[in-house]
């Protein structure tokens, strides 16, 4: 059995770790609140723009934008992967990567190649060892990402789509259900899959200014950026809540360990005292 002093140092070190994890939990909790607010604040934009895209799908337009056309045979797909910059957030990133890898394997089985674009250090570190070609990288966004930061990354992938290098583009991120649940999600960006709108008929079209191509391009690019941005802010909210929960269970586990070790320590101490007493008694008896 370990000596009393050894156990005492062990208990002290676990208590130190516990202090750190509980501080991290509290930091994550307050950051989560802010991240959730940002996520909610950006929802009106992406909701409205999805609604307009829905209208657009019903418009009887002469001009068909390439992003809205069904692509022919798919030979290569692009995936924008959103992850966190930091670790210590439970299985958040790993779950996303695992479900993505499954999909990538499926694609490869069908002879479809995959190009990726990573946002966040974790995805970059993970995917550069998978042999997939990384087209663009974006890291160090912090807790409050700016819309501007995304433009370059999204443009790289859209340019590839325009040039016909990829025939499909998706974004993968963790969707924020609630504090306890984060769902790895893959959403197709182009070609677009528009939702249904009730009560809309097909016999009308917009007046486009300055012309259909310019107006539609401007709208569709914003739509794609809005979806990626929404994914990014949701992923940040997920990261913080996942970290909060991971740190909470770490703190609880540390508490359990300290309790167990204290029990062992007390037993060891008691055994030492008993031994000492019996030594004294037997010594006294010998005299």
């Amino acid at each position: 059995m370990a000596s009393g002093k050894e156990i005492r140092t062990q208990i002290a070190s676990i208590k130190n770790t516990q202090k750190i994890t509980s501080a991290m939990e509290m930091v994550a909790a307050s950051k989560m609140k802010k991240a959730q607010n940002r996520m909610l604040a950006s929802r009106p934009y992406s909701d409205k723009i999805s609604q307009v895209i829905g209208h657009l799908a019903y418009a009887h337009s002469e001009f068909k934008h390439p992003y809205m056309k069904e692509a022919g045979e798919v030979k290569r797909v692009g995936i924008i992967i959103i992850s966190s910059d930091r670790g210590l957030c439970g299985g958040l990133n790993t779950n996303l990567f695992r479900s993505l890898l499954k999909q990538v394997v499926q694609y490869q089985a069908q002879g479809i190649e995959v190009d990726i674009c990573t946002i966040g250090k974790k995805a970059t570190a993970f995917f550069k060892n998978t042999g997939l070609s990384i087209k663009s990288v974006l890291t160090d966004l912090g807790d409050a990402p700016h819309f501007d930061d995304l433009l370059g990354t999204v443009k790289v992938m859209l340019d590839a789509y325009d040039a016909g290098e990829i025939q499909q583009l998706s974004v993968a991120y963790n969707k924020f259900e609630n504090t306890m649940t984060q769902v790895p999600t893959v959403t197709q960006l182009v070609p677009m899959v528009a939702g249904e709108v009730d009560g809309m008929e097909h016999h009308w079209d917009y007046i486009y200014e300055p012309d259909a191509e310019v107006a539609l391009s401007a709208l569709l690019v914003r739509y794609i950026e809005a979806l990626v941005y929404q994914g990014l802010v949701e992923n940040i909210a997920c990261e913080q809540s996942s970290r909060m929960i991971a740190m909470k269970s770490a703190t609880d586990n540390a508490g359990d360990m300290v309790q167990d070790l204290e029990l062992v320590y007390n037993k060891a101490r008691q055994a030492a005292i008993t031994q000492e007493i019996s030594e004294i008694v037997s010594g006294a008896a010998a005299v």
């Binding site: 604040a41 570190a125 700016h146 433009l151 370059g152 917009y206 486009y208 200014e209 107006a215």
Partner: protein, 137 residues
């Protein structure tokens, strides 16, 4: 008769409610939108959006964006990002460059997170070995 107006930017909702009419700086000229306007989709140039309601005139500045008009709804997407062809191009190039660095890094020097992963793996192996030894001894 009123028309419903939503003005949103990527980070917040700027205005949402009924209005008598809306004026927006479309790229081809100032646009006045009254209820039952024909469906229209236009880009915006920097300028002021005026929303006339019963309570008064609401004024919002936009640096560009898009306006969608349906007979009873006007949706205005305001840009928060500054867009310029050259600027976007530079950003795209930077993103590509970072990707190349990351890819070339894979063979050469490793970064902290992958080293951490390798470390965790060898730690687990060591733990396993010491457990096996404990069982034997």
């Amino acid at each position: 008769m009123t028309i419903h107006v939503d003005v949103v930017s990527a980070t917040e909702s700027l205005y949402s409610g009924a209005a008598n009419c809306v004026f927006a700086p479309a790229s081809t000229g100032e646009l006045g939108i009254y209820p039952k306007h024909v469906a229209l989709l236009s880009t915006l140039k920097p300028g002021e959006i005026r929303i006339e309601t019963d309570k008064g005139i609401e004024s919002i500045y936009v640096s560009g964006g898009i306006v969608e008009v349906q007979p009873d709804i006007v949706t205005i997407f305001s840009d928060t990002a500054i867009r310029a062809g050259d600027l976007d191009e530079t950003k795209a190039l930077e993103a590509k460059q970072r990707a190349e660095e990351a890819m070339s890094d894979a063979e050469g020097s490793q970064d902290i997170s992958s080293t951490q992963a390798a470390l965790a793996e060898s730690m687990a192996q060591l733990q396993m070995i010491s457990k096996m030894r404990g069982k034997k001894g």
